[in-house]
Symmetry: C2
């Protein structure tokens, strides 16, 4: 219990009614009664890495990402330090609406990859909820350098969360096969 | 044997006399007879993660890096996807002169951290040797997005190795605790 107590301390400054409570160590009620298309939904948060890969593929399809071999996706999830899912439940089924994962050396550095919120749930602050939880989890693990690579259209989103570009002239660089 | 044969295929375009040969699977003769301060030394390469932490600390001291708790350094190495050392031998002792390590999801993405060459051995192309081996190893593992964060003074070094900054406006971003 103590882990989650620490983890969720001061967890959110959102305007919605929030209600962080333990269902079990995997599924946490994060946002109570988020309004979406006239419906009120409870949004849950999970760090369980037992993810339905087809649900994840569907989520990635919804934002137009290029499909990747599921075997490689599974390998990537299995070797990520942290995977976070946002979902709501209907008829006892989990509906995946958000995802992020993190690689790390478990000590100093972490890099966040594959941050995605389903288009129907964008613009409701869930991206911030997701990222706040990622950062809290990494800080709980005493990891102090948190990095990511942001597409131009989301640089300002991450800036608002406290991420900075090119600190002291440090540049993110990429190498791709020719 | 096949792994190393693939790994070292076309391994170097250096001007030095190179002689890649197997001593065992951990210590590979990489550069034969590198001239250093009037001495000729054989430079070895290792991906063994059983690193003497005091030797590594000494190497990091030599380039003026802030000291880090050895326990956290060990944790970081243990959870790195790849650690690479460059060293020469004298009196059966390994002398660590280069180091790099990589975090990865073992599938799509990798991030290179802590690249260091001892000042006495800088300007001899060993940084390129080290990075070439890092890239070859990652490509062998079919990892296609290789990233790093470069201090301003080494951006051009990495550019010469084929790394690019801000491709399509993608920005490397950082979050640090306040």
């Amino acid at each position: 219990m103590s882990f989650w107590k620490i983890f969720f301390k001061n967890t959110s400054d959102m305007n919605w009614q929030t209600n962080i409570e333990l269902e079990n160590t995997e599924n946490i009620l994060l946002v109570k009664h988020l309004e979406n298309e006239g419906q009120y939904l409870d949004i849950y948060f999970s760090i369980d890495d037992d993810i339905n890969l087809y649900d994840l593929e569907k989520l990635c399809d919804s934002v137009g990402w290029v499909r990747r071999p599921l075997k490689k996706v599974k390998m990537a999830i299995d070797h990520s330090f942290l995977t976070i899912c946002l979902f709501y439940k209907s008829c006892q089924k989990k509906n995946l609406i958000g995802f992020a994962r993190v690689t790390s050396d478990n000590s100093f550095n972490a890099t966040i990859w594959d941050v995605v919120i389903h288009p129907k749930f964008q613009g409701k602050g869930l991206g911030k909820v997701l990222m706040d939880q990622v950062i809290k989890q990494l800080r709980y693990s005493d990891i102090s350098t948190i990095t990511l690579f942001a597409d131009p259209q989301v640089v300002s989103f991450y800036r608002n969360l406290g991420f900075i570009t090119d600190p002291d002239g440090v540049k993110g660089m990429f190498w791709y096969p020719l």
